[in-house]
Symmetry: C2
Subunit: 370 residues, 2 copies
């Protein structure tokens, strides 16, 4: 009984120390994705976020980000000079978070932060320092380019936008051709997400500079041809987007970029809803893609895949705060069935971009191996 | 005396009819630069703008856009269901306008509108239908690409960002080389302005499709290496940016794109502060650029130019609501001195992007003529 009490006490002390009881270190700096010259929002070395918003006549200002980015939010307090300030009740998960500010019941963005397209609107973004942030940092290495293309889409009767990452030296090595990864965003996001929030171009530049991967092209486009409300995914029809991707975008990219235009050198990956799209399209079109990756985007069942010989890689990942067992078990099953399957779990992160940045870093070296 | 009265009366009636007395046509549609799926802000065929913003507990909501986009702004009125609504007191100038919303004394963006970088922050944007909007519309024509490049800058010890427009077919015609226009934004804007607000890529695509211009490359980068407050332009030193542009960016572009890397095929243009930069740098570096264009960005004096033989074109423009006489007189003087000088005045517009879109459309066909 005594021992039991001690254990309880120990757990209580620990949990307090690890979370609410922690004293805040006053080394706050502006978030790295603030608007130019803006001092707030700020983040400290422990992962706390602090906000400062001007609204002299407002009755209430609440930031949607709470402890660990979970529900609740941070209620700001009005100080003199009309500024509302507040600090998260605890350390946030490492990496990028979307947020917004509710001022007197209306939803706005933080004037201090850059905006990123998520949840079908441009939201404020903040970067919590991460122990491994070096892999997506802007470094003094050769840089690839990210270019906007407008490609004709007969099926949707418009010019659609995509972003294409070409590796460093692409424009110089006029004879060289490259494999292509088609990389999809999640629900409520768009073709800007992987480079803006995901920093995928910087991750590629850094991996290439370190000689850790074979350079390849990445193509990112909007993954919907009809609007789907959150929660309405069950009603989502893949046909429209599959036509845009397979019959319109891929031929355009192969015609306008120096690609290795074959099955062995074409991969598809996606996060969340983009993973669901990747799963469906790779199953429907096994002759088009040879490498599949679902980032927090579900798993493949054995019966999904008809022709094992067409699949060179299946990569499944998620954050440790999601359902890592589902990913691990699926990969175990796929391996037993003889697939080249790999799982990755991002420690201490949930259904957010830090999980997907890390997942991409693990995935890239596995793609297009001879 | 009778006649005098009648004239006064007539003027009074006319001015009323032309402005405040005008009855509003209820054909409002969402602005073309709203966020996806957003119904407000709206614009009508007369150029009125209507706003609708949710802020149930707010005491005051004011939109910075007023009649003609001038000072004052539009005070919104609270309706049921917590939405604040209001319509501009008159027709706005045609084209693009920046704006923001003041909620209880705090400055925020309109959650319905896309954001554009201006006045050193990401501001809401709205498009007022223009009689000539076809020239910058997205059409079913071959499209060039706009790509982000990160180029090494020793002088500022970082990788700097630029956007490069390459004309349709650039990637296919592997042997062809192109002239280059270096195109600068205005104060408070950045390298995103010309493609986002200016739609310069679409203007190029359309002019090329109509066979009205020789295709060329456009390079847009951030025009400052030190922050300069509005009104502090007198203290602005060009040296830092001139080094980045001439000694770092131009060599990088010439090394990484298929350019015609010579004086005859290199132009510089800029709007507002970018015009001031263009003027200074073209005067300092006559051996680098052969075509000069200042859009609402001042004029050249004869004594500015030492070697007339180095100048192939001087283009000066502004809106009719700015100082058109200054532009016209300067061009008259330059012509008399034997320069190939051209002036353009955008009717009914001021110091805004519609003036610069139109100016660019007039400038492009004059560049790089044999």
């Amino acid at each position: 009984m005594k021992q039991y009490l001690n254990v309880t006490l120990l757990v209580f002390i620990l949990s307090n120390y690890l979370c609410l009881g922690q004293s805040i270190v006053e080394d706050f700096k502006p978030s790295t994705v603030n608007q130019p010259g803006q001092e707030y929002p700020q983040v400290n070395s422990q992962g706390y976020a602090r906000f400062k918003i001007l609204a002299p006549e407002a009755q209430s200002v609440v930031v949607s980000l709470g402890l660990g980015g979970a529900k609740g939010g941070t209620v700001l307090t009005k100080g003199e000079n009309g500024f509302w300030m507040g600090t998260t009740a605890g350390a946030m998960d490492e990496g990028f978070h979307y947020y917004h500010v509710t001022v007197d019941g209306g939803v706005f963005n933080d004037p201090g932060a850059l905006n990123f397209y998520g949840s079908t609107r441009w939201e404020s973004g903040i970067e919590i320092p991460a122990h491994d942030q070096d892999f997506y940092a802007l470094k003094n290495v050769p840089h690839g380019n990210v270019q906007q293309i407008l490609f004709p889409s007969k099926s949707t009767n418009t010019s659609r936008r995509a972003y294409v990452y070409t590796p460093p030296g692409y424009s110089k090595e006029q004879s060289k051709r490259f494999p292509v990864l088609y990389l999809q965003h999640g629900w409520g996001e768009d073709e800007t997400a992987w480079s803006n929030q995901g920093r995928v171009n910087l991750i590629m530049d850094n991996l290439i500079a370190e000689g850790k991967i074979k350079p390849f092209i990445i193509v990112m486009t909007y993954g919907m041809t009809n609007e789907v409300k959150w929660g309405g995914m069950a009603s989502f029809k893949i046909d429209g987007f599959q036509t845009v991707l397979v019959d319109e975008l891929i031929p355009y990219v192969d015609a306008n970029f120096r690609t290795l235009a074959n099955h062995a050198n074409r991969a598809m990956a996606g996060l969340s809803m983009g993973g669901m799209e990747t799963k469906t399209i790779t199953i429907n079109k096994p002759e088009v893609f040879s490498h599949y990756a679902l980032l927090s985007g579900g798993t493949y069942k054995l019966e999904d895949i008809k022709d094992k010989s067409k699949v060179k890689l299946i990569f499944l990942s998620c954050g440790s705060k999601e359902r890592p067992d589902g990913v691990k078990n699926a990969v175990t099953g796929l391996k037993e069935a003889g697939f080249n399957a790999v799982s990755y779990v991002s420690e201490g992160t949930g259904h957010e971009f830090q999980t997907w940045r890390r997942s991409f870093k693990e995935l890239a070296p596995l793609l297009f191996k001879d």
